[in-house]
Symmetry: C2
């Protein structure tokens, strides 16, 4: 079987980084761009990493997914606030046996893809990554980079065994230098990621703070920790156990991390819509359905919705 | 008995307004000032109100309480963040039979005065007032203005009957045109005031919002309302019942109010310490002691402590 080809929908901090690594490793990669199309079509991609940088002077760049070839793997690295575009974007770029990888944080995003291409063709992926887009086609990777992939399970009570499709994509990513692994229980991985995203994305905006500032002040640290424990309680109510040691490990990681402006803060500062519903709204509703009170998360959710509305008002 | 004389410690939005009204009504009033001393000593006070403005060209102004005459009623209208100064400020200005009126929001402020002058000589006062200091000796009254006064009860389980001292001060205020009344249960009035102060002071800072902006967005309104219900639950756990109709009435008031920048927001914008402990920290601790969870208030408290620390860092 020839190497799988890839479509990257959304060539930013996440899509540009992983897509760039796949292209460097020799995979055929097709990049969908919006604002940066002209720059990347002319100059390609520049990926800076802490361990070495590289350029891809000529990449397959597109501004319309209808111009892209059908691909084996379609990586959706758009903001989840753009998922209403999936019915238009996905069909032209998928091979009949192709899969979508929803490389987005939060809950409810796999469902958005499943509604378009069917649940059997959807993988979810979580990136444990600090990366920013610092200019058109210019990605700066700061820290970490692991990816966990799993098949979408329409019935969350019965996660499927590890999916061969997830194994295959993980193997490609590993060949490109990414520490990637397939996980049986995508929903568990999504909740694990929320353990970090809910406190640090939310507080970075509400407090105008970097990860380091949140870690160094005892009040913001106590609040981050309390939020993490609420996320774990909500996960438990959904049948996913996340031990306290996992929370402690994420706090320890974050303390050691370079000071990081989260993706939600970068969107806020740029007056772009924040991923409030995927990262906060859907988890709050999932907790509510499971009968688990999450007042701190819900309070922060309300604040972020208010701030988002003010910040993106015309 | 001759008319009681008054000392006003802190001649700002609150002290300048009520002290100015008392002076206009003919009471002997002595004003302690700090930054504004020279201006007020030279030019007196200007009080603008929605129903008419007045000037007091010559007032008794002081910059040191040791220069003030002993008074019957000492009104403390300082920020509660200044209460560590009470042991220095109060003794020189109190007649032997004088009383202190702690005209401050929050919990734990009467205790600060009682520790200096003894619990029998302390009244607490709550102002339902929209007023700002807009310049040296220049007070702008926007809306409302009622005062409720009650005697401090060291044992909150047994509030005393209405105090004659509170009745006397309320009568003086009424003579000066202030809708003032004596209340038997100071602690109930303090919790009632917190029903407004906790959501609107806190969210005005956390969301950079006026009262009107908070009322007009469905998310901030839902959050304000949820905070109010947590305050009522904490009050109930302390033996003080505040009905849901009281919360609704405060929301209705606030909807009708002119857009108002809260005192906490004004302090924050001026890089001055916010009254976080009196308005948030002490209520959170009281709720904790009474076994009542207040996660939304506690989350906002942690945020405000973080913001206060950043905002007042040297």
């Amino acid at each position: 079987m020839p190497a799988r080809n890839y479509a990257i929908l959304g060539t930013g901090a996440v899509g540009g980084y992983y897509g760039g690594l796949l292209a460097r490793a020799g995979f055929e990669v097709h990049f969908l761009l919006h604002n940066d199309y002209a720059h990347v079509a002319a100059h390609g991609l520049l990926v800076e990493t802490s361990t070495g940088s590289f350029t891809l002077p000529a990449v397959h760049a597109y501004r319309d997914s209808r111009d892209m070839p059908p691909c084996d793997v379609v990586v959706v690295a758009l903001k989840s606030t753009q998922n209403h575009l999936l019915p238009v974007l996905l069909p032209p770029v998928m091979k009949d046996a192709g899969v979508v990888v929803m490389l987005q944080n939060g809950l409810g995003v796999d469902e958005a893809a499943a509604a378009v291409v069917g649940p059997q063709r959807v993988l979810g992926g979580l990136c444990f990554l600090c990366s920013n887009k610092v200019g058109p086609g210019h990605i700066r990777h700061l820290d970490f980079g692991a990816v966990k992939l799993g098949a979408y399970a329409p019935d969350p009570r019965t996660p499927p065994p590890v999916s061969p499709q997830a194994e295959a994509v993980a193997a490609d990513l590993r060949a490109a230098g990414v520490p990637a692994q397939a996980a049986a229980d995508l929903l568990l991985v999504r909740w694990e990621k929320l353990i970090w995203n809910i406190p640090f994305n939310g507080l970075s905006v509400a407090l105008d703070a970097t990860t380091r500032q949140i870690m160094e002040n005892p009040d913001s640290l106590a609040l981050a920790s309390a939020l993490m424990h609420e996320v774990a309680a909500a996960a438990r109510a959904s049948g996913r156990e996340i031990p306290a040691s996992y929370i402690q490990a994420r706090l320890d990681d974050t303390r050691r991390m370079v000071p990081y402006r989260t993706s939600m803060k970068i969107d806020y500062d740029g007056h772009r819509p924040m991923e409030v519903e995927a990262i906060f709204g859907n988890p709050v509703r999932a907790a509510g359905k499971a009968g688990c009170p999450v007042p701190l998360i819900e309070g922060l959710y309300r604040q972020l919705r208010y701030l988002d509305a003010c910040n993106t008002a015309p």
